[in-house]
């Protein structure tokens, strides 16, 4: 903050407000937090600068999240595919994780986050990486390979409708839409 911080122009603020699910306070707060992450020189032109992924991961809201790297990579529009986020990407992130976002938006982005190899479907490799993320990094909490195989079999049995061995977007959305917990747990508040 301080004298070098740039203010968000009013018409841009109202544009962002119309295009995302965030309220004005939330956008201003996001602007402030994004500013703090930027290098001092970049703070004047907040529109064009990008924050590298390792800095985004220092945010307390993302620090303990097992999917933090995937989240950065999914929302990043950088050509270098390095997971760096511009301010608009950051707003997209917060909008998708906000309270008022629709189920379609959330399930779409959840699918992209879980798709570790970015091939448009969740295959066995993706599901294995997903389970390993969820069970933590310690060795004593990981599942054995038999348990892993059994778990993935059960998941594919439930969700894979066309029996092609992978879960695609429509099947994923079908499963998610019946879940009562998804919308309330898929939330990040700054």
């Amino acid at each position: 903050m301080g004298a070098t911080a740039s203010k968000l122009p009013k018409d841009q603020l109202s544009e962002y407000q119309e295009l995302t699910f965030l309220t004005k306070q939330e956008i201003l707060l996001a602007h402030k937090r994004f500013n703090e992450l930027l290098e001092r020189e970049d703070r004047q032109q907040i529109g064009g600068s990008r924050v590298p992924m390792n800095k985004i991961l220092t945010l307390p809201e993302l620090k303990s999240n097992p999917f933090r790297r995937r989240i950065c990579q999914v929302f990043s529009t950088s050509d270098l595919r390095d997971g760096s986020l511009s301010f608009e990407d950051f707003l997209d992130l917060l909008s998708a994780f906000s309270d008022s976002a629709t189920l379609e938006i959330k399930s779409h982005y959840a699918f992209r986050i879980f798709d570790f190899d970015d091939d448009g479907t969740l295959d066995t490799g993706d599901l294995e990486k997903l389970v390993n993320c969820l069970t933590g990094e310690m060795d004593n909490t990981r599942l054995t390979s038999e348990e892993m195989k059994q778990l993935i079999n059960n998941i594919l049995e439930e969700s894979d409708i066309d029996k092609d061995g992978t879960v695609n977007l429509s099947e994923f959305q079908h499963v998610i839409s019946r879940s009562p917990d998804f919308v309330s747990s898929f939330k990040i508040v700054l």
């Binding site: 119309e18 620090k63 303990s64 379609e104 499963v175 009562p180």
Partner: protein, 697 residues
């Protein structure tokens, strides 16, 4: 008029633009793409539209600002964020607290604005009539802090309690109908509460929509079990552990069938546990009854002979029971060996039964006291006639119109005002409950945390991991406490208009204190599992409490005659007679006639019968709708699976496209939207030019 038409057309144009942008919001595109399409839209806006449309838009923005201000306290958002560190269940407690605060704010504004303020401003001031003056005997210590804290003295003879209000039909230059207002506010607070609770329940039920499917057990575990609100490493580790455990449990359950060995032992232990709990409940009920009887004995002998404990025995015992019995239930439930979720439901049910039993025993005791006071009232009425005769010193015959002797209001003998007594009891109960909660918070959480942190260095075993360690934030216990507190407010608000104000203050302080306690002294719960289905469970409990707490108040209003010399209904035979009186005097004659015809039993009974039939009919139609709903759901699921299979083949074709083809397809979508925008703009410009043409003509 023509200008208004033009403005309307412009408003339509603005609304159409908004609809378009709303569709953009729901698209999972990066911001850049959305902005580029919007920029395209704005190019065709035109200077005229931008000017006027902007004013409307600015007005809408201002309304949003006002609403936002009304809803957010800065510290509260901070609180929500920090409690989010512990997962969404603690955050949901604070959201519930905020919702309660909103309800209490409305109740407070009703009682304050329509009851307390008119009486304070427009009615006769303190000291003018007997009911508004402290009696001569009590004036010596009416200003003492101890007396005021007990809500006696000047606090008792003020707008805070029922007894102060005068029964004058219309007061002040506004001719404000005070007794009518008092009665209607009492009824209105209950009606408003019912409406709000039922509306919230209906909204929650709509969102729920049948989430008790078990067909996607594993998929849900893997896709939806992570709580993205967790921002604390400790909570995250706990969550990892619980997810792993649930995976392993589910896998084992799926693989082999559970062998129920020792089922007889488990059953016996469960029966034993329930028996112990029943003993506890009966014991606490008897204890309260015993204590209340004792306090009646004290009251008969005069409270001045006894110390602080005897005076507040009932309240303290009730608060202490409410504090220790749940812990006892927790210990007993370890015998039962249930799944944690089921154990929680049993625990909540038992605490509910405990609080309910305590409250109703308290009310029964209060009824006894009311009857005592009414017997006393008869005696006082008899003594009044003697006193009045003595005033005239027996010199004048009874029916002559003599010059009335001026008597200081403080000297007039006073009847025992049972309504004020009831109000005082409730206020004292709530204050002692609040004090107990805060003291347990300070000692149980804060002091414990301080001791564990500092004594850990010089203690034999690790205080932080073993006993006693830091305390967890008990969400369900706190929610139940909040619900019962609200029940007490609803019960006593008719007799003590100051109760909603008191509750508002209490909730405000609670918000800050509990927020601080959660941030500083609590650790995240070990069993981090979601209470998502419990939302409607707490609402249902609130509804039951609302019903049960308005019952005693309604009973006293309908069946007990009001005191003869205090309150807005003094002199009437029943409190609801004020309605009859208003109908007779304030409304035209035909209104009264219509009402008297309508309240004829010959009309009321068939009407009741009709309502019962209507309820039966609606119930049966709702059952058929539910059945039809289920059938449709099954059909929809089958249809969806078919669509998934067919769209898969289409998608497989699409995924074989090169990125360039994908981009052209997305661009085609973009062009379609832009075309729509241009058409809308063209139509708008047409309409505006037509309007201008008509204006010119």
């Amino acid at each position: 008029r023509r200008r208004r038409k033009v403005l309307e057309k412009l408003k339509e144009a603005v609304d159409e633009r908004k609809k378009l942008i709303a569709t953009l919001r729901g698209k999972p595109w990066p911001m850049r793409k959305k902005l580029e399409s919007q920029v395209f839209v704005e190019k065709y806006e035109g200077a005229l539209g931008k000017g006027r449309g902007r004013r409307l838009y600015a007005y809408k923005v201002m309304m949003r600002k006002v609403r936002a201000l009304a809803y957010f306290y800065a510290f509260f958002i901070l609180c929500l964020k920090y409690s989010g560190h512990f997962g969404s269940s603690v955050a949901s407690y604070f959201l519930f607290l905020r919702w309660m605060y909103g309800i209490n704010m409305i109740l407070f504004s009703l009682t304050f604005g329509l009851v307390m303020v008119p009486e304070a401003l427009m009615a006769r001031p303190y000291g003018s009539i007997p009911r508004k003056t402290v009696p001569r005997e009590e004036q010596a210590n009416a200003m003492d802090f101890a007396v005021l804290w007990d809500f006696g003295g000047y606090a008792k003879y003020s707008v805070l309690f029922y007894g102060y209000y005068n029964n004058q039909r219309a007061i002040g230059w506004l001719k404000f109908r005070m007794p009518l207002s008092y009665f209607l506010v009492g009824v209105g607070t209950v009606a408003y509460s019912y409406m709000v609770v039922i509306r919230t329940m209906a909204r929650n039920a709509k969102e729920d929509g049948g989430g008790d499917d078990t067909s996607f057990n594993f998929s849900w575990k893997i896709f939806t079990s992570w709580d993205y609100l967790i921002g604390n490493t400790e909570t995250a580790d706990n969550k990892f552990a619980s997810i792993t455990t649930s995976f392993k449990e589910a896998i084992v359950e799926e693989q082999e069938s559970r062998k129920d060995d020792n089922i007889h032992l488990t059953r016996f232990l469960r029966v034993l546990a329930n028996f112990l709990v029943l003993c506890c409940l009966a014991g606490s009920g008897y204890l309260i009854y015993f204590v209340v009887r004792r306090s009646q004995k004290f009251a008969l002998e005069g409270l001045d002979n006894y110390g602080w404990w005897e005076r507040n025995e009932v309240n303290m015992v009730m608060s202490l029971l409410g504090m220790f019995c749940p812990m006892l239930f927790d210990v007993i439930s370890t015998l039962e060996n249930y799944h944690p979720r089921i154990a929680l439901q049993w625990q909540l049910g038992r605490i509910f039964a405990l609080f309910l039993g305590n409250l109703y025993t308290f009310i029964i005791a209060l009824m006894d006291q009311i009857n005592l006071k009414r017997a006393e009232e008869e005696k006082v009425k008899f003594n009044m006639t003697i006193w009045q005769a003595n005033l005239y010193n027996g010199t004048l015959p009874e029916n002559s119109t003599a010059i009335p002797i001026m008597v200081d209001p403080a000297d007039v003998p006073r009847g025992p005002c049972w309504e004020t007594m009831v109000g005082q009891e409730f206020v004292r109960l709530i204050i002692s409950d609040t004090m107990t909660t805060y003291i347990t918070l300070l000692i149980g959480d804060f002091l414990r945390a301080v001791l564990v942190r500092f004594l850990n260095h010089c203690w034999c075993w690790d205080l932080e991991y073993g006993f006693p360690s830091y305390s967890e934030f008990d969400v369900s216990g706190n929610v139940l406490g909040l619900i019962f507190n609200q029940g007490m407010i609803w019960m006593g608000a008719f007799y003590a208009p100051c109760l909603p104000a008191l509750n508002l203050l209490r909730l405000h302080v609670s918000m800050y204190l509990q927020c601080w306690a959660v941030m500083c002294c609590n650790v995240p719960q070990e069993r981090v599992f979601k209470a998502s289905g419990s939302n409607n469970f707490y609402m249902a409990m609130l509804l039951v409490i609302l019903f049960l707490s308005t019952l005693p108040a309604i009973y006293t209003i309908v069946s007990i005659p009001p005191s003869f010399d205090c309150g807005p209904f003094s002199g009437k035979s029943r409190m609801f007679d004020v309605i009859q009186e208003t109908l007779e005097t304030d409304f035209p004659a035909w209104f009264g006639k219509v009402f008297s015809y309508a309240s004829n039993p010959g009309l009321v009974l068939p009407f009741l019968l009709l309502m019962v039939l209507a309820i039966y009919y609606l119930h049966s139609t709702s059952k058929t709708y539910k059945h039809a709903n289920l059938e449709l759901k099954k059909k929809l699921q089958a249809l969806r699976e078919k669509t998934v299979l067919s769209s898969d083949t289409a998608r497989n074709k699409m995924s074989l496209q090169t990125p360039r083809e994908k981009e052209t397809e997305l661009n085609a979508e973009l062009c379609v939207i832009q075309c729509n925008t241009i058409t809308i703009r063209y139509n708008t410009i047409n309409k505006i030019s037509a309007a201008y043409n008509s204006m010119l003509i």
